[in-house]
């Protein structure tokens, strides 16, 4: 464990229910606690579990236990598993210093398909995400995960992208025991996904 340049680090993981939001926060949280940090995680859950907007708030501290909710405008890092959800979180929790990692693969809401007005233009969404972040990174996590044979691996690819840019105080080494513990039958695939995330992530232009 090391002292953090900002304490706590406030990380929001944003996505759509069913994508694996809780799993992402658990992987990161467990690894950080084993490294000696205090971690508090608050999640939206329950009836918003499937198909709804979901997010996890993680507060990472070397000093103390913080509350499970991040106040308005106080995110340091946003991990966006879906573009509309990334923008939604930036609206509430973004600020001039926030760093964002986004998976550009959309998940269409049912009410939207119902009204027929279509999903917002991806380039326009990404442009807004970029303008509302101090730095923004993009990683085609779902596309790569599908190539690897399982859409759920997108989550580990996104975590790999976070690590690559040192956005949370974790190394790949710290994640290995957590992957072994949480996914004993898929250690190789998850480790590969972690590396793929580090290789694929690029600055959003």
């Amino acid at each position: 464990m090391k002292n953090l340049s900002k304490d706590p680090i406030n990380l929001v993981v944003a996505g759509v229910g069913g994508q694996g939001n809780v799993m992402v926060s658990l992987v990161i949280g467990n690894a950080l606690v084993h490294e000696g940090y205090f971690v508090t995680i608050g999640e939206t859950y329950g009836s918003s579990q499937r198909g709804g907007s979901v997010m996890s708030h993680l507060k990472i501290s070397a000093e103390k236990q913080f509350s499970p909710l991040i106040p308005e405008g106080q995110a340091d890092v946003v991990l966006g598993m879906e573009p509309v959800e990334t923008l939604r979180v930036l609206k509430s929790f973004g600020n001039q210093n926030v760093v964002t990692v986004v998976n550009p693969r959309p998940i269409h809401p049912v009410d939207f398909t119902g009204s027929g007005s279509g999903y917002p233009d991806i380039q326009s969404l990404l442009g807004q995400i970029k303008s509302m972040s101090a730095r923004a990174y993009v990683v085609n996590a779902t596309d790569e995960a599908l190539k690897m044979g399982n859409a759920m691996l997108a989550n580990m690819i996104l975590i790999g992208a976070l690590l690559k840019n040192s956005l949370i105080p974790l190394s790949e080494r710290a994640l290995v025991p957590v992957i072994k513990d949480m996914f004993p039958k898929a250690v190789a695939a998850n480790t590969k996904a972690l590396k793929a995330g580090a290789d694929l992530v690029s600055i959003l232009n």
Partner: protein, 646 residues
Amino acid sequence: MPNIDMDAPGSNQLFIGNEAMARGALEAGIGFASAYPGTPSSEILGSLSEVAKKRDIYVEWSVNEKVAIEAGAAASFAGVRALVAMKMNGLNTVIDFLSTITLSGIGKKGIVVMVGDDPSAHSSSNETDSRPVSKWLDIPLVEPGDFQEAKDMMPFLYGISEEFGTISIMRSVTRIAHARGNIKLGEIPKIAHKARFEQYLDPAAPMPTPIMCVPSSFRHMFQHMRMDKVREKFESCSFNRYVGPDKPDLLIITAGSGWLYSQDAVNALKAENRIGILKLGTLWPLPEKLIKTHLSKADKVIFIEETDPFLEGVIMEYTAGFSPESKRNLFYGKHTRHLNSFGELTPDAVIKAITSVLDIKYAPRDAEYMKKVEAVPQGHVMDRLLTFCPGCPHRASFWAIKNALAMDGRNGFVTGDIGCYTMALGPAGFFQTRTHQCMGAGAGLANGFGQLSRFGFNQPVVSVVGDSTFYHSIIPALVNGVHNHSNFTLVILDNGATAMTGFQPHPGTELTAMGEPAAQISMENICRAIGARVEICDPFDLKDTTRTILDLVEQDQGARVAIMRRTCELVRQKKEKKPYKMQIDPDKCLGEDCGCNRLCTRVFRCPGLIWDAAAGKTRIDEVICTACGVCADICPEGAITKEAIA
């Protein structure tokens, strides 16, 4: 889910509050645990069930909360520490039992009720605050302020329960019960539980326990004396503590998640030198002397607590008895509208309340960034409405109910109940559900509607319940309906699990909470034994299901039953691969020109179907679609096809 019984005392782990409470119960040496699932309390018993055999304790998912608490009390009566868990709605259903065990006293070993409250009703039909029950019924109540306390309070509370001979309550809220944080593990003792029932002298009364005496007002008197002794104990309890300056400008009195938010708020406002925080862990009986000492430190006092102004009310009531010269405080909180008495607390709400009382300026973001926030077009962050999972049998069931009621043509409606299928109030279930109260209420209401034909009522009534709900509280309503010739159709959505709370077993499933073979109780046999006509269908067979419901509805007399049997999709996909290859033939999909008016994406609305506005066709999102095949049967052009995968 972490292994809550890991043998690693002193190590740090990341647990949700519920797991911390379960670990605390193990460290307290419980021998018996019972519960009915309900968010946010379910993981307490869920995590205990995974270690029950290894730790040689008995763990049970009970048919409902009332049986759970009575079963737990029996363990206490026979000298085994018992834990009972439920959500706040469950606590409401056990009030009658609580009101007598609080008088009768308990056995030689303690019993603790863990109640999970759900402020903001994230996953509930109300947001009741359970704390007033402690004052109403004279029951000691504690509330953990963080994850470590959620664990550490358990052995303490069993000590209280046994020293004073009373059932005790731990209240937690969603943001502790379902949030995650660090806990340092303690030791789990090895206890050889020995159960034997005998009466013994109540530690707080010259009477045997656990029997009521007549008149029970004697017991009531002794219960008040018992609570006075508990109050003395709470005065010096380390779960109550103060942080801040000796003479703060503002004293925060808080408990539960409010403790963490208050610290965050003081931190964000850099007001550590101006604000003191009195954090209470023992909420009832109120540690009055401790509170009086801290009230003398500050003129201004604000209460930060979830949901109701409970501490605000009881502390202001207590200070009303002060002599005029010791009344110095100005009280702020929910009664002054600095905070809401509905919806959950947030750090922002606490910051706003403090800045208002102390007149501090606080702007979380600069003006330039706020301009960017305001410039985001509304359509870019559209709402995502609640819906059933892709492949959920409930979507098909409600599709069939909707069509059957439309064919019947008498403006029939659904009385709803508690489960995933509550979402049928909205577009997920095509707005079929028109009433929504508590567990079992839909069938009770149907009983009443079904007797109103003498007053001209002629609408078909369909009570829709889940399988776990059926066992929990529907059986008496069906008995009543058959016995009294009430006119309604009961539809049981049997997906083989208590799906909404995490797939816990129920009396119709194969295994007990301990993972042992259960005596499966057949719901059709129960219904037939009561004397109801019973039809069983597969909701994915839309044609047959619709015809069966229409036939039952048109019977128009007596209470009759349809069981819609199809495994929860989330359970199925853990065991099996996709059954079909789903495709849409773009030549056959007529899009906006089709007479169906986009039935699949505009009305049926499975998340796996996407309206491709550019192409003017429907397409399938392969990441989302679970290949249940139902949409192939609703497309009038046959554009959606399912091909079985061998």
